[in-house]
């Protein structure tokens, strides 16, 4: 096993140079006094370009990625990131400064308008904001829209209902929008029951945040009745669109009574996850909520594109400039490449793949909820002689990235598996074979799993130490 890479600071030597930038050529003196300037940046790296390339290539070799293999994280939709989209997003002709006068960037404004049009058509909602930077940012934006709408009606309410299977960002976003959270338990089928909803639906409820399909991969089949009950109560239905990959071209949330939803361009729309971001979380609304969308918004005026900056009813600005523009470029390119012929295929293959895995593994793993799975399936570690964590770590030894573990919280030792549509049958069969092998190992030789992983560059890092004695940066003279 090769040695782990040093830190860039450990490679640094006085006199080494990494960049090729010339000196200023203007005859000018500094206006800022010497006392207000820094002397230098102590300990900042001095490494040659050659060594920098090798340093990052060594780091790259330590990373698993979608480009390397199967990445079945549930609700993350780790689908293939098309390479042509990288080239399109890097084109010089698109790299305008965000304050470039609008007449000089009609192409960019049209790109945003086109993406909005696609999202409107795919979801059946009336309009979208492309400003939010990620799903959670979109949730926060959506909650602010709901709040302002109700305030304007003179019906400000304090509570948002959130199911116990919800992703943590849901209650966090609602909280920062000023709401109190009331949790609804999922029923025995794993979904929100209509009677349970009615029991929680008091006059102080502003909205229900629903993920559909939910984090169990199960369709919230009571959605029509739920939407009706909410609307009758003067409440709104927010949909977390993280799992839209199961529904693309099959059903439109706007047709199901959804008032506000966010999408994740970095999930359903194939933009790269980048190790944790950047994402993009457009928010769509039904017609009655359009005036509250954040600013700025792109508007078409005859054959020109304009930008709206002022609207007294808007919730305000949530993001600098327009949003994650280069992420939008990738998402639009992805949609244009799919076209009407393939949109539906995405959801069909995604759901087919997930159900194939479910069928093959439901004999060896406990399936806590028998309801039909859509694009992801959740197993539990019940009746296994090892923990879910041990199975996940052993998968690493077989060169595969584990599924999501210990989420949703309502399943003991949850294993959330989302293959996506961009995986071949060969890959699925390989995963199924490896899982069968590991489960057999679990029964015959559980120590193999508890010691796993053994093939990776590092093994079972001490997260307790990291939290007890946080070391969050390199310091000269401190070495492990």
């Amino acid at each position: 096993m090769t040695a782990l890479p040093k830190l860039i600071f450990e490679l640094s030597r006085d006199g080494k140079v990494g960049c090729g930038l010339h000196e200023a050529d203007v005859p000018a003196e500094a206006v800022i006094a010497a006392a207000d300037r820094r002397v230098d940046i102590a300990d900042f790296p001095q490494v040659s370009e050659v060594e920098i390339v090798r340093h990052y290539m060594a780091l790259a070799r330590l990373n698993y990625s979608v480009d390397a293999g199967f990445y079945p994280l549930g609700s993350c939709t780790m689908k293939y990131n098309p390479k042509i989209n990288e080239k399109l997003a890097a084109a010089d002709e698109l790299q305008a400064h965000p304050y470039t006068p609008h007449d000089l960037v009609q192409g960019n404004l049209e790109i945003m308008a086109q993406l909005e049009e696609w999202l409107v058509s795919l979801t059946g909602l009336a309009g979208f904001t492309l400003n939010p930077a990620a799903g959670a940012h979109g949730e926060f934006t959506g909650m602010l829209i709901i709040r302002k709408y109700l305030q304007e009606k003179g019906d400000a309410r304090k509570v948002v209902l959130i199911p116990d299977s919800a992703h943590g960002t849901n209650p966090a976003s609602a909280h920062f929008a000023g709401y109190e959270i009331r949790e609804i338990p999922s029923n025995v089928q794993g979904i929100i029951g209509i009677e349970e909803l009615r029991a929680h639906l008091k006059p102080d409820v502003a909205a229900l945040m629903m993920t559909n399909p939910n984090t169990l991969g199960i369709f919230e089949s009571n959605i029509n009745a739920i939407a009706d009950a909410l609307h009758a109560n003067g409440s709104l239905l927010y949909m977390d669109g993280a799992n839209l990959n199961a529904l693309l071209g099959i059903v439109r949330p706007g047709d199901l009574g959804v008032d506000v939803m966010h999408l994740n361009l970095h999930k359903t729309f194939a933009t790269p996850h980048g190790g944790g971001g950047p994402g993009s979380g457009p928010v769509g609304v039904a017609a009655h909520l359009l005036p509250f969308l954040p600013l700025p918004r792109v508007k078409k005026n005859k054959d020109r594109y304009e930008v709206v900056y002022d609207d007294p009813r808007s919730i305000g600005r949530v993001k600098n400039f327009y949003g994650q523009f280069l992420v939008m470029v990738r998402a639009l390119a992805y949609l244009l490449a799919l076209g009407r012929e393939n949109i539906r295929r995405v959801a069909e293959d995604a759901v087919l793949n997930a159900n194939y895995i479910r069928k093959k593994l439901e004999g060896v793993l406990d399936l806590p909820y028998p309801a039909p799975s859509l694009h992801e399936v959740v197993f539990s570690d019940k009746d296994l002689p090892v923990k879910t964590l041990d199975i996940a770590k052993r998968l690493l030894d077989y060169g595969l990235h584990p599924f999501t573990i210990y989420f949703p919280l309502i399943v003991h030792g949850a294993m959330m598996i989302e293959p996506t549509e961009t995986e071949s049958k060969e890959t699925l069969d390989e995963f199924i074979n490896v899982m069968n092998t590991i489960i057999r190992e679990a029964r015959e030789n559980p120590e193999l799993l508890r010691q796993a992983p053994v093939q990776t560059p590092v093994r079972r890092l001490d997260e307790t130490l990291a939290a007890r004695k946080p070391v969050l940066k390199w310091r000269r003279g401190e070495n492990i």
């Binding site: 940046i41 900042f44 340093h55 290539m57 330590l62 990625s65 993350c76 943590g168 944790g276 009407r340």
Partner: protein, 449 residues
Amino acid sequence: MRYLPLTDPEREEMKKTIGITDVKDLFSCLPSGKCYPSLNKFPAALSEPQLVSTFKEWGRKNSFSDHLSFLGAGAYAHFIPEVVSYLSSRGEFLTPYTPYQPEVSQGSLQAIFEYQTMMTMLTGLDVANASLYDGGTAAAEAVLLAVRKSGRHRVLLAANLHPEYMAIIRTYVQNLPIELLTVAVDEKSGRVDGKDLGTKLDDTTAAFVFQSPNFLGVVEDSRAIAAAAHERQAFAVQVVSEAMSLAYLVPPADCGVDLVVGEAQSFGLPLGFGGPYLGFLTAREEFLRQLPGRLVGQTVDLDGKRGYVLTLSTREQHIKREKATSNICTNQAWCAMRAGMYLAVMGKTGLARAAKTCHLNAAYFAAAAARLKQIKVVYPENFYNEVLIEVKNGHAADFLEALKKKGILAGVPLTWFDPAWQNRLLLAFSELHDRKAIDRLLAAMGECA
């Protein structure tokens, strides 16, 4: 279709295994009346060459590339070494997920640990997080952090903060029990009015949030500001929209600032029409457990090898849910890695050289502009890379338009942000400009009445 690897025979085989005849059976749990909307209004699929030409067409509808640009005001054109683009485009950095399985994510984790380290070196503070969305939302998170940490509910904002940052802060606190108050700007100096600050600071103040260099391009007296805030046990929060300034000016920590947050797009990220950019947050040690966003920490593995993990996760939404320090989940991780690569490549001497050139270019312009009749440099004594000018005898809009016709984008008109600023333009200078470019700007300005 190249992104859909399943073949029809394979689909048949899989359907048989599952026990269905039609893929539609898998969607029988959906409400039948609402399924399978018409897809006719969507365009037909584009082949790869067609995709390229479609985007080229959009590129042709953009006509900014020929212009010499001095646009700034929160986004800056800087030299990006080719090596940065090359390394950051590797699929190993671009296509993984958040590093929840650290054993196979040491590349991302170490790269972000290095980024965190370099941001603390630049600001002088103790800890940096692994990114926020952008400068504006970073400023908003800093406001929330200061309120959380202090237990106080009033926050003072300098009137010369970037107007977008101000707007975002207001959006973020609109439904929270936080009171915002603006501190006036001294017209003569372009800086925060110390007297007004002193009057407004009191024992209910959680923090004073100021920007330096501020939106007018002026460098604030951070030492005096921090001292004033601390006298009332309030936090001094500095917002930075031009991160390059950190490589030139005295580190904020040396001035007593408690939190330094802002926009790090200048560190290797393309202008990209506004995004994705990079919000950064650095803080004193005492804020550690209240920090928003992800943190990468160092540890050891079973065999005693050094390694990195996401840590102090109990602050975050996936554990604390509505009690989390922020709702942020997906952040700007790749942008942070890229910024780390940029900072490593530029290095100690390269970054200092770039940062100095930005200032010298601005200084050259300001000195020469003093000789132009048409304009006045508003704050000639004190700026970093942005120079605020006032157009005499007319409206800045016409002046700008005339320059635009000469192929020059001569800065951002402040009237966009406040109609009261009718005649002011903010010009940004970077190491990409040279004497020839600035002389061209000056000559063109001389010709425009």
